[in-house]
Amino acid sequence: MAILLHGTTLLRAKRILAQGPDPDFVEPGDVARAEGFSTCLEGGPFPLGTPGEYARRKAALFPNEGGPAILAVDVPDDIIASAVSEYFPLSQGIVQFDEGAGLEELRAGWSTLRKEIRQG
């Protein structure tokens, strides 16, 4: 098991906590689906930025969504392994769940996973 973090707004964190990551989610004002779910290992490294930075940036873009928040999920190794690819080796700290690359497994097990919302 490893704790994965996802930086976002409080509103979205609550929604994901309750329903799981939604590849069909469309941001207000946008037209495209989210498609995937980006997370990173709690211990880093953070070559694409920290979850806290993402949370703050997202909250600034969407000021009516309750401010920054970090969703933390404890994910089994086998689900994480299904997301690992040559683009996203675990050594770089990024765990990118995409359709066909771990997202289905994550969503299937979501209700059983230990998770919490942390302050962003």
């Binding site: 469309v26 946008d30 037209v31 498609e35 040559e86 683009y87 996203f88 080796p89 770089q92 990118q96």
Partner: protein
């Protein structure tokens, strides 16, 4: 100079087959970004590559997951914010980032990173290069080639990437770099010793204790390979026969291996070519010797690495190390339990050797292709400048390192540039050649000649003040002999770049393939250094009057 097509192809490979994750992928994009700039546009699960000054017809589409593209852009944002905090958002903006060192290459970036739009424009910013390459001699400075900006840092970056986190290189090293007794003994490509080992395992009387096991297996394969008309006996005959009176000879009449058998009577000649090619009609001569002394219908085998040239004499049957590898592998697989452990280790190592050196290995080929694609610039740099110093220069460098009187500025594959350590306090920083140490405008040089000798000379390199440089050069040429500089009968050619102010003095010379031993080299270098050191004390007083009058360059 790379064409846009070449760059596109390398970019495509980098995007489709990243070897160092998304972080390495961004490094690759920065490395490959051409002078005219690069644009990447995300379109569904594809990425369109184009050049900023190119026309749209040159665009190339590469499959790329949207999440990967977005991760690339997120990494770009992090790099921009590392250079200037909070300059861009992960979701888009315009900024600058720097990569590499000494000096870093600077890139201008414009990007958008939202679910609907992901695109990137990248342009390089020229960085002043370290002087021109207009010199007649001396080491190649780390400067730009063909005026391409920022190449100095790019080269360093390339080399760093080549050695750090290069998983392909590690995989390749692990595949070919295992300990091998034959490598350790230096026989990897030495033909004579390959023949010795082959003769050893072929000879039933040898100490491997396996009797005719290896001989019959290899003979069987040779007979199967040979055209029916060339076989001294059939594979069926061999299978049911106990060979009697077998003799395996080395270098009989210069033939690498000659196998003769009394019952059934046959002869097999093996000519082994590892690196060398045939010469002086040798195959025809060997054939005649075999026919004259043994049999008209002996089997003549020409053993080579795969892809080697065919024998010039068609009576010789080509047989490759790949065939030999297969036969020995089969024998080991079948009789492993019956073969003594020591022999097993030897044959295993031999198989490993010919497997990695002489055979086409798809995995090795793939790794090599990937390494070449991803690290082409580093490899070209290494080939150009990384040839190891000869043993002679390496020994000379060691003498200088061990002698605390000297300071080495830098070393190339053919030269070592140094001064007395005491000069470091005195030398003003007037040089242009090495910005890392501008005191290196006057240097002593140990120089390796292509004609197999090590020379010593004194050189004045580029300086800010050309006029004063000329005065210094002329002074040193005129009075250098007082300080142990060799007189140059031909006279010195004075230029404004690199000028030898002494003749080239031979310290040690040797014949081809007969480099002197370590003690001899060290003694010769030490003798020269001991001789020149006290004499050099006169150089600072000679030059100080000229230097003190030197005006700063305008």
């Amino acid at each position: 100079m790379n064409t846009t097509a070449q760059i596109t192809e390398v970019l495509r490979t980098a995007l489709e087959h990243p070897s160092r994750g998304v972080v390495g992928l961004v490094d690759d994009l920065l490395r490959l970004c051409p002078e005219q700039g690069l644009r990447l546009d995300g379109q569904a699960d594809r990425c369109r590559i184009s050049f900023l000054t190119g026309d749209s017809e040159e665009a190339t589409d590469v499959p790329l997951r949207q999440s990967v593209f977005r991760a690339i852009l997120a990494r770009i944002a992090v790099l921009c914010n590392e250079r200037t905090p909070d300059s861009v958002s992960p979701y888009g903006g315009q900024g600058e980032l720097s990569a590499g060192a000494n000096p870093p290459a600077v890139f201008r970036v414009s990007f958008a990173n939202t679910p609907a739009v992901h695109k990137l424009e990248l342009t390089t910013e020229a960085v002043p290069v370290e002087g021109d390459r207009a010199h007649e001699e001396g080491p190649i400075p780390m400067t730009a080639k063909q005026g391409k900006p920022a190449i100095v840092s790019a080269e360093e970056r390339e080399l760093e990437k080549f050695v750090v986190h290069n998983e392909d290189l590690l995989a390749l090293e692990s595949r070919i770099g295992r300990f091998n007794i034959f490598d350790a003994l230096g026989i990897a490509r030495v033909e004579i010793r390959h023949s010795n080992f082959l003769a050893f395992i072929l000879d039933p009387a040898e100490s491997h204790g396996q009797g005719q096991l290896f001989l019959k297996a290899i003979l069987m394969d040779l007979l199967k390979t040979a055209p029916a008309g060339s076989r001294p006996l059939s594979p069926i005959e061999l299978d049911g026969t106990d060979l009697r009176g077998v003799e395996v000879r080395r270098e009989w009449e210069h033939i690498d291996i000659l196998i003769t058998c009394q019952q059934p009577p046959f002869v097999v000649a093996i000519e082994n070519k590892v690196d060398a090619h045939e010469h002086s009609d040798q195959l025809r001569r060997y054939k005649e010797k075999v026919r004259q002394h043994h049999s008209e219908d002996g089997l003549l085998v020409y053993l080579t690495p795969p892809d080697a040239r065919d024998p010039t004499d068609s009576d010789w049957m080509p047989y490759s190390y790949a065939d030999l590898f297969c036969v020995l592998t089969r024998v080991l697989a079948t009789y492993r339990k019956a073969i003594g452990e020591d022999v097993l280790v030897f044959v295993d190592h031999y198989l490993s050797l010919i497997g990695t050196r002489f055979m086409n290995d798809d995995k090795i080929d793939e790794l090599c292709r990937r390494i070449y694609t991803n690290h082409r610039q580093a490899l070209e740099l290494i080939i150009e400048r990384g040839r190891p110093a000869s043993g002679v220069l390496a020994e000379a460098a060691t003498v200088l390192q061990e002698d605390t009187r000297w300071h080495v500025f830098y070393q190339t594959s053919k030269e070592i540039f140094f001064v007395p350590k005491a000069w470091l306090e005195w030398l003003p920083e007037l040089g242009l050649d090495r910005k890392g140490d501008r005191r290196s405008w006057i240097v002593l040089c140990l120089q390796l000649s292509d004609e197999r000798w090590l020379g010593f000379l004194v050189q004045v390199r580029r300086m800010e003040d050309v006029t004063k440089r000329r005065e210094i050069v002329e002074k040193l040429i005129a009075e250098g002999q007082k300080f142990g500089f060799k007189y140059n009968k031909k006279g010195q050619k004075v230029t404004d770049f690199y000028t030898a102010v002494s003749g080239r003095e031979r310290i040690i010379k040797w014949a081809e393939d007969n480099e002197p031993d370590s003690d001899t080299i060290r003694a010769a270098v030490k003798e020269k250094l001991d001789d020149i050191y006290p004499k050099l004390a006169g150089i600072p007083p000679l030059l100080e009057p000229l230097l003190s009058l030197t005006e700063p360059a305008k």
